[in-house]
């Protein structure tokens, strides 16, 4: 069996809701049935075979080629299976993903992995704002799993995050970890302004010294026993985080946000 492949044969003016093209919804369908699925495209509907050339037959391994930035909701609620997307990707990539592996070869838009529940989501390019965040009005963002971003991320990554890991090899924008409830965000690059704004609990693990607000207090330098275990859990990833040289256990610990619960921490590599 070869990967079920959707190759975009044209682009659209309006955004496309790609949520029906996900492993668990396609597993019992024939290629003809898949081709006949109608996707929401702006205010009209478009057949799958009008937008994509379809090949392959393994619905547990889906490949989307020639993706463009107006394809939204790719891999929404992905439940088992493997999905890979080549090209630019729109908003809500991997939204509410439950399990499995999801990979973006290019850049992704807003709200990628928002309210993700489990699984591994890898973004080889950059990610937009609200990575792993809660949807507007909701109280809890990402609740589990791992997001690996090899590029940079926009603002408010991990907003309202509840559990899980966000690993960023590049830089993070403003408000990284804002309103975070718990979980871990690791950033190898630089971080923007208002780091950990209104953060309740959880860990921001940084390689570079950030600009911290007055609501984070210096708790001194420490050797923390949980860090080797955390780094060991990254070993299987295809990432800089898996490298031996990336691991450390000596950190400067800042506690905050003292305007909130004050049980969160920013750990900066020493």
């Amino acid at each position: 069996m070869s990967a079920l492949t959707f190759t975009a044969i044209k682009t659209t003016e309006q955004r496309v809701d790609m949520s029906p093209l996900v492993c668990h919804l396609l597993k019992d369908l024939s290629v003809a049935e898949i081709a006949a699925i109608e996707l929401q495209n702006g205010k009209r509907k478009i057949r799958v075979d009008e937008l994509f050339e379809i090949s392959g037959d393994d619905a547990q391994n889906i490949l989307i080629k020639n993706s463009y930035a107006k394809l939204d909701f790719i891999a929404k609620e992905l439940h088992d299976g493997v999905m890979t997307v080549e090209g630019e990707i729109g908003a809500y990539f991997g939204m509410s993903m439950k399990s499995g592996e999801l990979t973006a070869k290019g850049n992704v838009g807003l709200y990628a992995a928002c309210e993700m529940k489990n699984g591994l989501l890898t973004i080889n390019g950059n990610a937009g704002d609200f990575l792993g965040a809660a949807l507007p009005g909701n109280k809890q963002g990402m609740k589990g799993g791992t997001i690996l971003v090899k590029g940079n991320v926009g603002q408010r990554s991990g907003d309202h995050m509840r559990r899980g890991n966000i690993l960023i090899e590049g830089n993070a924008g403003d408000y990284c970890g804002s309103r975070m409830i718990a979980g871990t965000i690791a950033v190898m690059g630089t971080t923007g302004r208002f780091l950990g704004y209104a953060m309740q609990r959880g860990t921001l693990l940084l390689w570079k010294k950030p600009t911290l607000s007055a609501a984070f207090n210096d708790c001194g330098s420490h050797t923390l026993a949980f860090l080797p275990i955390l780094f060991k859990s990254f070993k299987k990833l295809d990432s800089k985080f898996a490298e031996e040289s990336a691991a450390f256990n000596r950190v400067q610990r800042y506690g905050g946000d003292m305007a909130e619960k004050g049980r969160a921490e920013v750990l900066v590599k020493l």
Partner: protein, 298 residues
């Protein structure tokens, strides 16, 4: 059966089902991991009065521990699940949490999960934080030397307790030397502990007593000073008997440990004063696990 001049009795050791768990203690160095492990497994020779039977299973290389530091694994056995959970928690709280630089991890993943650090976290008075890594929950409890890291739970499994054998020798020093040699070899095996002091018991017991309040009393049939006044099980020239009790995660683990231990004793042989190997049982009516000495040594 005679091995190197040592007679192996045609009898069996009788053992009982127990509940068990393993915990891994790490520290800045092996010395402090061992100190913590010794404290945690202290006063845990027999369930008769200690609440559990516990012992150090082995020293762990940093490559074998979850946090990459030197460590020690301990096994704890109790008659029931509730008793085991209580003993584990009490001992973890008083002996590991308090021990400098220590961290505490689960040593068994399968089975029913029982609290390890799950409730100890409240010592953190609200400053404790948790991390869920690879599906396992850890608690970070702030303490005066830094941070106490503990896994939330560990696995509880069915196990076997009370495997044993008796070493009958011409003199007390010879009995002790033989048992010491056995313990050295048995300690090399995983999944078993010998919970008595140094792994050796000099006061083996029988069920019951002339005093109604006591459930167990001295095993007079194997007491050499009573040879002439009780129904003795000892040859006239026997001056000392010592016992090795074994708790193991499975019957096979105990089988193996008994074989290795008895062999070590027999290697010293009759020329070193070893006369017989026997075992303690209750007629086969109390414990479902029977370890027949001659079958084990065949």
């Amino acid at each position: 059966m005679i091995i190197n001049g040592v007679s192996i009795d045609e009898t069996f050791a009788e053992a009982f089902p127990m509940k068990a768990t393993r915990a891994i203690i790490t520290a800045q160095n092996e010395k402090w991991a061992m100190i913590s492990a010794q404290a945690m497994t202290g006063f845990a020779t027999s369930v008769i009065a200690c609440g559990c039977e516990a012992g150090i299973e082995k020293v762990l290389d940093p490559s074998e521990t979850p946090d990459g530091r030197p460590g020690v694994s301990v096994l704890i056995f109790a008659m029931g699940g509730k008793g085991l959970a209580k003993q584990l928690e009490t001992r973890a709280g008083q002996c590991v949490l308090t021990s400098p630089t220590s961290a505490l991890f689960a040593g068994i993943d399968e089975g029913l999960q029982i609290p390890l650090g799950k409730n100890l976290r409240y010592f953190g008075d609200g400053f404790q934080t948790s991390k869920k890594i690879n599906g396992k929950r850890y608690w970070r409890i702030p303490v005066m030397d830094g941070e106490f890291l503990t896994e939330a739970t560990t696995g509880r499994v069915d196990a076997v307790g009370g495997g044993n054998f008796l070493v009958l020798a011409k003199s007390q020093p010879q009995a002790l030397a033989a048992c010491e040699a056995a313990i050295v070899e048995m300690k090399k095996l995983p999944n078993v502990i010998m919970p008595f002091p140094g792994g050796i018991v000099r006061s083996g017991s029988k069920v019951g007593s002339k005093y109604p309040a006591l459930g167990a009393s001295s095993n007079d049939a194997f007491c050499p000073t009573l040879k002439g006044i009780t129904k003795t099980d000892l040859p006239p020239e026997c001056e000392s008997v010592m016992e090795i009790v074994i708790d193991g995660l499975t019957k096979e683990d105990i089988d193996k440990a008994m074989r290795v231990g008895i062999q070590a004793v027999c290697d010293l042989g009759a020329e070193n004063g070893i006369q017989r190997i026997s075992a303690g049982n209750y007629g086969g009516k109390l414990g479902p696990f029977h370890f027949h000495l001659q079958e084990i040594m065949a």
